[in-house]
């Protein structure tokens, strides 16, 4: 009898120890398809550096998410679609529960794996890029083009111009040049700009720049001849500094040249030198190191020599902070999912998807994260996978970006209408029955 009791007690202790050890060893895997070499390495090294630093901060400062340590592995895509798909396949079964989320940081790779993610039950998050109509979560349950889409951005830029002119009615009769990268990414601006032009009565002058955009003399001569009131720079990579310098060469005021968020980083202005002074760009995150979250990264990560950035002066740059935003959203979705599926547990991609769909980063939560004003408050629902659709505008003062506006709204009814129309067409084409969000838990 005594022996039986001892054996039983031993088994209970062993069981408790085992479960506690298992909890202590729980890890959540995040696959990172990064690009640190190749044409876009400059932006990639900042973005992925910031992202990894934030996850490192959560591990170092908090011991992980409710005790679950974050682990990650980078896979080099060189911003190439084929390699991106290879990375998706390579990463999807890593970790004890598989890849939690796939964030390709490339519109091309997004399209390449769009139909794979529902099959593999891995959520795909595309912050500030990707397929715009995927914001309709009823048709695209596994895709999250969060914070703001290209269409919302274009609309917010036009709203900003309206603010500058003293009212949206003042845009009537104006000319707005649209200098765009001649690719699917650049052409994403056309439909929304045409709609906005019809609504507000301005004229859009579309001027294409062939890839890579390192030569723009003829485009800027056309701009000089057309004399637009504003020019929207929808660029990428070397196209951006070339456009800024060409604007200076043709005497176009940089204060009237408004870049999109892929045109508004230090990597775009520094090569343009003094010509960039006054240039304005939209952003769903801001530059700057004077945010508590960045201070925490410096203290807990760089203070222990565990920082990812070789060049520490880039901490707080636009791309670095964009990486931190990726980190915050990823971690908060995991935290949210743990509330439903069990705190301290490693989750599957399917469970993390629920976390993304129920994410609510309100003012109080952003304050607790030390990120007030760093990114806009964000609420995702079953139907709306985009969230706020807001941007801030920053101006280059010759040395650094200065925030010059609060969060500027887009024309939500117009943009949402276009999203739903486009998503419905996709659903019809693919034979998808949209979800009934009233039945989603």
């Amino acid at each position: 009898m005594k022996l039986k009791k001892t054996v039983l007690l031993g088994a209970v202790i062993a069981g408790l120890l085992g479960s506690s050890l298992a909890s202590a060893n729980e890890e959540q895997f995040i696959g990172l398809p990064s690009y640190r070499v190749g044409p876009y390495a400059a932006g990639g090294s900042g973005l992925f550096g910031g992202w990894i630093d934030y996850m490192q901060l959560v591990n170092e400062r908090d011991g992980g998410v409710n005790g679950v340590k974050l682990t990650w592995e980078e896979c080099e895509t060189e911003y190439n679609n084929a390699r991106g798909v290879e990375c998706y396949e390579r990463l999807k079964k890593k970790g004890s529960t598989g890849n939690s989320v796939f964030q390709p940081v490339s519109t091309g790779i997004t399209y390449s794996v769009l139909e794979k993610v529902p099959q593999d039950k891995i959520p795909m998050v595309t912050i500030g890029y990707g397929r715009t109509d995927a914001a309709d979560g009823r048709v695209f349950p596994w895709v999250f083009p969060m914070i703001t889409t290209y269409w919302s951005q274009a609309s917010a830029i036009v709203n900003f111009m309206g603010q500058k002119e003293g009212g949206m009615d003042k845009l009537k009769g104006k000319k707005i040049g649209l200098l765009y990268h001649d690719s699917a990414y650049g052409k994403e601006s056309h439909a929304i700009m045409d709609k906005l032009a019809a609504k507000h009565g301005f004229e859009v002058i579309k001027i294409a720049v062939a890839h890579p955009g390192n030569e723009q003399q003829s485009q800027w001569l056309q701009i000089r001849q057309a004399k637009p009131d504003y020019v929207v720079l929808w660029g990428w990579g070397v196209m951006n500094p070339t456009a800024i310098k060409a604007a200076a060469k043709t005497g176009f005021p940089r204060e009237k040249l408004i870049g999109v968020w892929w045109s508004g980083a230090e990597e775009d202005t520094i090569p343009a030198g003094p010509a960039a002074k006054g240039f304005i760009a939209a952003g769903f995150n801001v530059a700057g190191a004077n945010y508590p979250v960045i201070a925490d990264i410096k203290k807990h990560v760089y203070g222990k020599n565990k920082g990812n950035m070789e060049d520490k002066t880039r901490v707080g740059s636009v791309y670095y902070n964009r990486g931190v935003v990726h980190g915050i959203i990823t971690v908060e979705a995991i935290r949210k999912a743990q509330e439903k599926f069990g705190k301290g547990k490693a989750l599957t991609g399917e469970q993390v998807r629920w976390g993304f769909e129920n994410l609510n980063l309100d003012d109080a939560r952003l304050k607790a994260l030390g990120a007030t004003g760093f990114l806009p408050p964000l609420k995702i629902t079953c139907a709306d996978h985009e969230g706020p659709g807001k941007v801030k505008f920053q101006q280059w003062d010759g040395n650094q970006w200065k925030v010059i506006t609060d969060w500027v709204d887009s024309d939500r009814p117009l943009v949402r209408g276009m999203i739903e129309e486009s998503a419905a067409a996709y659903a019809k084409e693919k034979g998808i029955k949209p979800r009934d969000c009233s039945k989603e838990g």
């Binding site: 890839h211 003399q217 001569l221 343009a272």
Partner: protein, 308 residues
């Protein structure tokens, strides 16, 4: 009319910038009969090495950042780096492939491209850098005020540099022993070797000169658009120039550059709006393709006749 002239002049000056890159291709082709796919990567490597040294030299030697001494020292060190790169290429890539078919050498230069691109970013990092040569990229005020024609001071400077380089290279090829040896090597490796021309030395010299041209081109393109990976794309602009001007002619590179530059700008401005714009990327290739039908060796290229 003023607008037409402005487009034309702007195009001609852009063409000179393309010709600067094309010159590097011509040099290697003349010496080895190989189209050096790595020329764009060499432009990137050279410019990045130059700005890299500009960044580190003040710290190493206690010199004033941005001073003339730092500039020329960085230029010298970058040139030495290009000589070393050329020598290593000759020793490791070309020497084992002597007398191999040209396509083998061409494939080797494709591999070399990836090595040079990776080496540049591994050594100096992937950050985008600005480069200030002290020449403002703005229109000449007199032309603007009197004729409303915008001609950039920077583009004129680039044209001057290209013209000087061409003159220098033409003298090198026509009037020096090295130049004559180089042409002999280009004609036939084996024949050149049989009359005692040191093939390896000639190749090293040519790669060093091509490295110098890459450095100058990289600095000018880098000052214009920033020193970044996209410098490798400048090679794309040089290709149609070479087809038009001929792979073996230094003056051909300049004339080809002028024709391509002017025609692509005129096409973009006057034809582009009717076909959706953005035709600058493919128009020069189409022009070069059409040209190939009538003159496969290019404007100034050597006509190749095989005896049956």
């Amino acid at each position: 009319m003023q607008f037409f002239i402005e487009v034309l002049v702007g195009g001609l000056l852009s063409g000179v910038m393309y010709a600067l890159v094309a010159l590097g291709f011509v040099l290697i082709y003349k010496a080895s009969g190989v189209f050096n796919f790595a020329q764009g990567a060499m432009v990137f490597f050279a410019a990045l090495t130059f700005v890299g040294f500009q960044e580190v030299l003040p710290g190493w030697l206690g010199l004033e950042a941005g001073s003339g001494v730092v500039f020329w020292l960085a230029f010298l060190l970058a040139f030495i780096a290009m000589i070393l790169l050329g020598t290593a290429t000759e020793r490791i890539v070309l020497r084992p492939l002597v007398n191999q078919p040209h396509i083998t050498l061409f494939m080797a230069t494709i591999g070399l491209t990836y090595v040079v691109e990776g080496l540049a970013q591994m050594t100096w990092g992937a950050n985008v850098r600005g480069l200030d040569l002290g020449i403002v990229d703005e229109p000449i005020a007199w032309l603007m005020d009197n004729y409303e024609i915008g001609v950039s001071k920077f583009d004129l400077f680039a044209a001057g540099v290209a013209a000087s380089l061409v003159a220098l290279l033409a003298l090198l090829f026509q009037y020096t022993k090295v130049g004559r040896a180089l042409r002999a090597v280009a004609d036939d490796h084996q024949a050149a070797l049989s009359i005692g021309i040191p093939l390896q030395t000639i190749w090293r010299v040519v790669w060093a000169v091509a490295g110098f041209v890459a450095l100058v081109a990289g600095m000018i393109w880098g000052a214009r658009n920033g020193v970044q990976f996209a410098l490798t794309f400048t090679a794309l602009k040089a290709l149609p120039v070479l087809i038009l001007g001929g792979f073996t002619s230094v003056p051909g590179a300049i004339v080809g550059g002028l024709i391509i530059g002017a025609s692509e700008k005129l096409a973009e401005v006057y034809v582009g709006p009717f076909v959706g714009g953005g035709i600058e990327g493919w128009f020069p290739y189409m022009l070069a393709l059409a040209f190939l039908l009538f003159r496969p060796e290019g404007l100034f290229g050597e006509k190749h006749i095989d005896r049956v």
